[in-house]
């Protein structure tokens, strides 16, 4: 069992010696032309740059497409879900608060725009109101729409 392969020197001549040693000492062989076929196989399986770029582009395209879809849906199909910034409602609400004509809890039921009114009410009261009214409204709408 004599060692023949050396690391010093040309890489390509080492490769031949390594193969020779493996065949001679260990009886291992490879199919003819294996390495050139394997090289082609490996190169064909490498992830291509175009695919990578495609994936990178998808990172931007998907959220943009989703945002456009949501805006389209809310604008044309469910316009009532969009918060309406009606100046009259805002001014009316502020005026009522100034005059102390409104207690906080009533604000949510009396005003038409919950998203604006909720700015003046504490969180726990909003939660209670949502539990009591909004959920019921959603269920009612769902039932009527079917």
């Amino acid at each position: 069992m004599k060692k023949t392969a050396k690391t010093e020197g040309n890489v390509f001549s080492i490769v031949n010696k390594i193969e020779e040693t493996h065949k001679k000492d260990l009886g291992l062989k490879v199919p003819s032309d294996y390495f050139s076929k394997s090289k082609a196989d490996i190169l064909s399986k490498l992830p291509s740059e175009e695919k990578k770029k495609g994936i990178k582009r998808m990172y931007f395209i998907v959220p943009i497409a989703a945002a456009i879809t949501i805006l389209f849906t809310l604008t044309f199909l469910k316009p009532n879900l969009l918060p309406s910034f009606n100046n009259e409602i805002v001014l009316d609400t502020i005026e009522k608060i100034k005059n102390n004509n409104l207690v906080e809890a009533d604000m949510l039921t009396l005003t038409d725009d919950i998203s604006i009114a909720s700015l003046f009410v504490e969180d726990d009261k909003i939660d209670a109101f949502v539990d009591k009214h909004i959920v019921e409204d959603i269920i009612y709408d769902e039932l009527n729409s079917n």
């Binding site: 490769v15 390594i18 193969e19 260990l26 294996y34 390495f35």
Partner: protein, 188 residues
């Protein structure tokens, strides 16, 4: 800047990557194949692991920090891929280490790409008796001609431990082959 650093730059640049990777395959494909083949035994397994190794190398090159040489880094990837393959096969076959060692020679003989004569089979049988890690160390040093320093990076073991394991393996192989020959003489 060293030629290896330049080569690595080419490997990760969009413009030169294909040509550089072709060169990398020319340089390392056969060496890594033989390194893997001794670990996973059969040609078919070695082919699978070799492909996985180069795909992993390709994906990991941009993250390669050059803390070791490209040569050592690629051997480490090949070694890790081989061990991962062996471990997953062990789980599939529910093999214990002992039965796997017994299976080493059987797997080798059943491989159509093993063409060993009596002497080669004798050496393989002796190698199969070594504890796995010791066998890997012996093969890396003796057949892949790796330096002990390189094996530290590949195996994540101390140089002293690797040297001891290697010299113990050499002693064991010499003794075992001598015993077999003496037995043959006494029987013959």
């Amino acid at each position: 800047m060293t030629s290896e650093t330049n080569f690595i730059k080419e490997l990760i640049s969009d413009k030169h990557r294909e040509k550089a990777f072709n060169k990398l395959l020319d340089m390392y494909q056969e060496r890594l194949y033989w390194h893997i083949r001794k670990l996973v035994i059969t040609h078919e397994n070695a082919n699978d692991v070799l492909q996985n190794t180069f795909i992993r190398v390709f994906k990991s090159l941009p993250k390669f920090q050059q803390k070791s040489s490209l040569h050592t880094w690629m051997y480490r990837i090949a070694y890790n891929e081989s061990i991962r393959f062996i471990e997953s096969n062990k789980k599939k076959q529910h093999n214990s280490l002992d039965t796997l060692n017994e299976g080493y020679v059987n797997t080798l003989i059943s491989d159509e790409h093993f063409d060993g004569d009596e002497a080669q089979l004798k050496l393989q049988k002796t190698l199969s008796k070594l504890p796995e890690k010791q066998r890997y160390i012996f093969q890396m040093k003796y057949y892949d001609d790796l330096k002990f320093r390189e094996m530290v990076d590949i195996l994540g073991m101390k140089e002293g431990t690797i040297k001891t394991a290697y010299y113990n393996a050499v002693k064991y192989i010499e003794k075992d082959i001598l015993n077999i020959e003496l037995l043959e003489i006494s029987e013959g």
